[in-house]
Symmetry: C2
Subunit: 339 residues, 2 copies
């Protein structure tokens, strides 16, 4: 059968099938070469498929299982005890090449561990990384690692840079993506040891390495790819979410201050609409677990239907561009220095 096949962990995330199923159907409608396997509890999924057209129905199937990895499950539990979970079965389908990619809004730690166990990393990659696309003032940036690894060594960061560069190249069509290394700007204390050694490796890497990028430079669009350790990257990502939510809350509070501001808020409706569109986390939902032999996309756990659909689209795009095979082919050519 031709076309693209994607498995969806229908049970993952805060809302389970009532978000994942309608979102999956929405992407199925817009892409006629797509087939989906919804993995999870049939008694919850099937009612949500009632009444869909025969054309759609022919391209969606359900793989039934009742076991679920919860948000609170320890990684060890997900890995060793829940071998029939919707998450695990979706990843198994990627491994068996029954599908080309899978998408889950489940527990990030479990998804990373199970994906790594089932799919393994490429021969030239020591550790997979989490890559997300974030908005900038002038477009967007691919940032990795956002939390898969802490205490990364310089050669791991080099590998992240190599993978990020390939992804920016194939997804955005940029010939030589600008790769930056996240760092702080104070002269005396520029970077820690990890950063200084990584900087040397990147200078010798053949990538279009532009040097250090600071926290504010990320959002100014100074680079197409920003590389960092997962600890720092996750702090930066969560900080971004926190500040954006705080500002949105402040705008709401200002609008509700008195009748004058309430009227002003109503009249400013077109501005809010545009801002909401620009800052909508759903537009950027779908982080990629890169470095594995297959495509796994992580949706935000609290994603709504529109956001989860976006994560499915990310998976489809990576299948179309053949991302894992490209990473495998390119990194196989490179000499990866042991730092």
């Amino acid at each position: 059968m031709t076309g693209i096949a994607v498995a969806v962990d229908a049970m993952g995330g805060d809302f389970g099938p009532r978000v994942t199923v309608p979102a999956s159907l929405a992407v199925l409608r817009e892409n006629t070469s797509l087939r989906l396997t919804l993995v999870g509890d049939e008694s919850l999924i099937s009612p949500l498929l009632a009444g869909i057209s025969p054309g759609l129905s022919a391209r969606v199937q359900v793989l039934h299982t009742t076991e679920v990895v919860t948000m609170d499950d320890k990684v060890a539990v997900a890995l060793r005890q829940k071998k029939q979970s919707s998450m695990r079965l979706a990843i198994n389908l990627v491994h068996a090449k029954t599908v080309d990619a899978c998408v889950s809004a489940g527990n990030t730690g479990a998804l990373m561990a199970v994906s790594r166990f089932v799919l393994k990393t490429h021969a030239d990659i020591d550790r997979p990384a989490i890559l997300a696309t974030l908005p900038t003032m002038i477009g967007h940036v691919h940032m990795l690692d956002l939390g898969a690894n802490v205490d990364s060594e310089p050669r791991h960061l080099l590998q992240f840079a190599q993978m990020g560069s390939i992804i920016a190249e194939v997804l955005d069509g940029i010939e030589r993506p600008r790769v930056g290394l996240l760092n702080i700007g104070e002269e005396e204390i520029k970077g820690n040891e990890q950063i200084k050694q990584t900087d040397e490796l990147l200078r010798a890497s053949g990538l279009n390495y532009i040097g250090y990028v600071e926290g504010d430079g990320v959002f100014k669009g100074h680079a197409d790819v920003v590389v960092c350790d997962g600890f720092v990257g996750n702090i930066a990502l969560k900080t971004t979410e926190g500040v954006a939510k705080m500002m949105a809350g402040m705008i709401k509070a200002e609008v509700n201050r008195n009748w004058l501001t309430k009227v002003a808020g109503l009249l400013a409706f077109p501005i809010w609409k545009g801002l909401k569109h620009n800052m909508d986390p759903g537009r950027y939902n779908g982080a990629s677990l890169v470095g594995l032999t297959g495509i796994v996309v992580k949706s935000h756990g609290s994603a709504d239907i529109a956001s989860f659909a976006q994560a499915v689209r990310v998976a489809v795009k990576e299948v179309e561009k053949n991302v894992p095979a490209l990473i495998h082919a390119r990194l196989g050519q490179n000499e990866v220095p042991a730092a």
Copy 2:
């Protein structure tokens, strides 16, 4: 002579005396027990003092010097070659107890190095830290270290926590400030080694330690004090600035989209005014170099008059509350475990 005496490095920052002098005079006007020493080029400072009232004039003096630490000066240059710089002389005045505190908008790395060299740290503190106050959804938070140290060891982070707790207690009047440790939330990979060891020290510290706080939790107001390594803290701080600027830019772009949104933007004026007030970095200007035997406050280099005045007020408040002596007295009582 009674009252509070503060030295101002009048030459520091992007704008020098034309910001630092009017800002200093503004604070002098609102606080009649304050005396100021403006350190810098008399030929640039004196014209800005022309025409002030005799009452004000009696409380301000100029310490003349033409040497200046520039934003691009290497720390070694500032420390060894510029011994007559306005920054150095201001810090010397603190050391000589001629003044109670000093304020500078100059080069952060140089300010930290010179302050540390001249003033030294408290006996029980290994390294000074940079503490800033940031807005949250429900108030504000004191965060440290924001860039003085990279590769901090757990016992350094413990000391930062102890200092931060004292500052939140005396500046905010909170009896037992909630102290959080900045960390990431993924189960499998919760924290790096530095964080895990610091967590153990903090649990045994006698502080009101509430455990881990994530990047978004900082802005939700989960803690009164958030502790982190300077590398991570500086990335988080710059990320915060970057996101806030990006959102402000997006609002402007939405307002300028067409005539309808332009009109809406004009009508929403009271909302912008309130938002600007809430997000104004000037309201939070003035980071403290804590752990030294004297008070040194760092203003943002690009501070305007209102912002720089705020940094001077931070210095005054720390003098009033006797912060360094309190830190010295309290930490002298504590057993600081060698981790």
